[in-house]
Symmetry: C2
Subunit: 345 residues, 2 copies
DNA sequence: TTGTATGCGTTATCAG
DNA sequence: CTGATAACGCATACAA
């Protein structure tokens, strides 16, 4: 910067003014400075600027892991949304470990970012207090802990109910649930299960514990395991509701392996509508949570919090969802009478 | 830091010494300082440290997009590898756009990171000069441009040849290739196609242009399109080699849709061995490129470059690969005689 | 419209 | 072993 000032024959302050677009500056001066900048290939030292301004232009995004397609796609969307505001995203993987999630909140890296978008998975009710942090924080997912922070989510209960209703509407009666978390009451698993049970009850169907498959982590492998266990016990089913698409794809895998025809014998629906879903064999019906909308909203909310323009109380945003029907629930043989296009819930 | 020093009754420099693990420091002093740090909840200001040290503790990772599973999994691995060294990863998405890839190299964000791991896709031979940058850079993928930078890659040619040989070994003769880039000579597409052609020629089989399916972007959708086009022209095939798994999964999707039985009528193999592959229906054979090894090597190489301990000439690392056989090529009916476990190439 | 001087929070130098 | 003090590169209050 000194060199640039010297070359342009101005003071360092003027260089700063030019860089930051200060308006009251003589065109010819500006031109000279810009020429010098180009000539010297000068670039602002962001560390110095950060130190001086106290802001970093970076936001954190903490997710379980990028190898889970849903979070990869979410990260993609968040990065794009942040880019719109000239922000850089710094991704942290928690591996859904309680310890790592607490670390994220304790904010070792807090000084690196202006705020954090956090999708917690492992933290439970007992960790409620940890969410009351003194930096801008937006939570993704249901307002889990009576929320001492802003949060953005779709209604898990409503969406799960809609998915289950879709199965019921296509004639299914013995609907297995894959991905339950026994004993949990506030997480996505519990909420989605609640929606499932509501749909059954509303339709006058019983809630059969034999149809509830546990799966701690929502991976393809755990979905496959849960499906296999259920089939092994001889439980009779005509549909599967995977609490996310990875679970559903795992289930699909096992069904294929056992020679069960989808959807003729068993219909399958997932949740998240990751890109995989559309290309599964058969294509997987799912619930689309409006990923882009979630990402954009979260970034906006976080920025408002950073800028101090957000309301004092914590904000809660509920985003839209959509039940997307594909061959896994509405196969050729069943398709007659069913809508050919995605159904908006 | 001042406050901590005051509370502990020492100078600010001593606090710094304690934080940075300077050895020659009286235990009781250290203890006092640590108590003060805990008491005040003090955390170092990373921006200030960066400014002072000229290093940021962050490295950049530029990939096309995270919604492509291969790059999501790669990012996952790179983040883990970087973590081992106490580094933070900053992900940038190029969308495989030439413009964005050049931007990444022009280094607007250079001062934010100590170095860059870059997986280019759009840049071609004519951009060769842009890779000669004055900051630590490690390229992922084949040494594309006579490499004015370090790079880490597996041998695309060898791996593609091995994949094709596997198809030939299981009795396939009309092997379609999906994902070709017409006219390209240096990118992954060209190299993998070369391996495919070598395998055919070695086996005395003809290289039939009708079997080459173009697909610019390697997405599921483009793979599906290419497969559909080829089937529409009535080209006779008994196997498909997707130049990556997304393409192969797209192809699988179309085959399923047309009622073609995999692998009985047509065998399918992909490339990358993303997690999806194992859970496709049927499970997809693929080439595993040793993702973890690539990530770890790239990070190590970059750090050596940052530390200045790397050799003056540019380094080229070739990583291992493995042909993983699954049901899509070795179905129940064909499996007899074929190895039951992954074959190491 | 432009220049001067100061401090952001650290770490490094060099005495003591 | 510890302390005083000078940078690091920038943005801003204040002057001119």
């Amino acid at each position: 910067m000194h060199d640039v000032a010297a070359m342009a024959g101005v003071s360092i302050k003027t260089v700063s003014n030019v860089i930051n677009g200060y308006p009251y500056i003589r065109p010819e001066t500006k031109e000279r400075v810009e020429a010098a900048i180009a000539e010297l290939g000068y670039q602002v030292n962001i560390s110095a600027r950060n130190l001086r301004q106290g802001r970093t232009g970076m936001i954190g995004l903490a997710v379980p892991e990028l190898s889970l397609p849903y979070f990869a796609e979410l990260a993609d969307s968040v990065i794009r949304a942040a880019e719109q505001h000239g922000l850089i995203v710094l991704i942290e993987q928690t591996n859904a470990s309680r310890e790592r999630e607490l670390e994220v909140l304790s904010g070792q890296r807090r000084h690196l970012t202006d705020g954090l978008i956090f999708s917690p998975l492992a933290l439970g009710t007992e960790d409620r207090a940890h969410f009351a942090v003194d930096f801008p924080l937006v939570l993704l997912g249901e307002r889990i802990f009576g929320g001492p922070a802003d949060h953005v989510t779709m209604s898990n209960v409503d969406a799960a109910r809609a998915a289950t209703q879709h199965l019921i509407a296509t004639g299914r009666r013995r609907i297995a649930l894959i991905g339950a978390h026994e004993g949990e009451t506030v997480g996505s698993a519990a909420l989605r299960q609640r929606g499932y049970e509501q749909a059954l009850t509303d339709a006058g169907l019983p809630v059969d514990p034999a149809l509830i498959g546990e799966a701690g982590l929502w991976h393809r492998s755990t979905g496959a395991d849960a499906m296999a266990r259920m089939l092994d016990t001889g439980t009779e089913i005509d549909a599967v509701f995977g609490l996310n698409d990875a679970l559903a794809i795992g289930a699909l895998h096992v069904l294929h392996d056992r020679g069960v025809v989808v959807p003729d014998e068993v219909a399958v629906i997932g949740f998240d509508d990751i890109e995989d879903a559309a290309y599964a064999s058969p294509p997987l019906s799912s619930v689309a949570p409006g990923r882009e909308q979630i990402a954009a909203t979260a970034v906006d909310l976080l920025l408002a919090r950073v800028a101090g323009t957000a309301p004092a109380e914590h904000v809660e945003v509920i985003t839209d969802f959509e039940v997307v029907t594909r061959e896994s629930t509405v196969g050729a043989s069943v398709r007659a009478g069913a809508p050919a296009r995605p159904v908006v819930a």
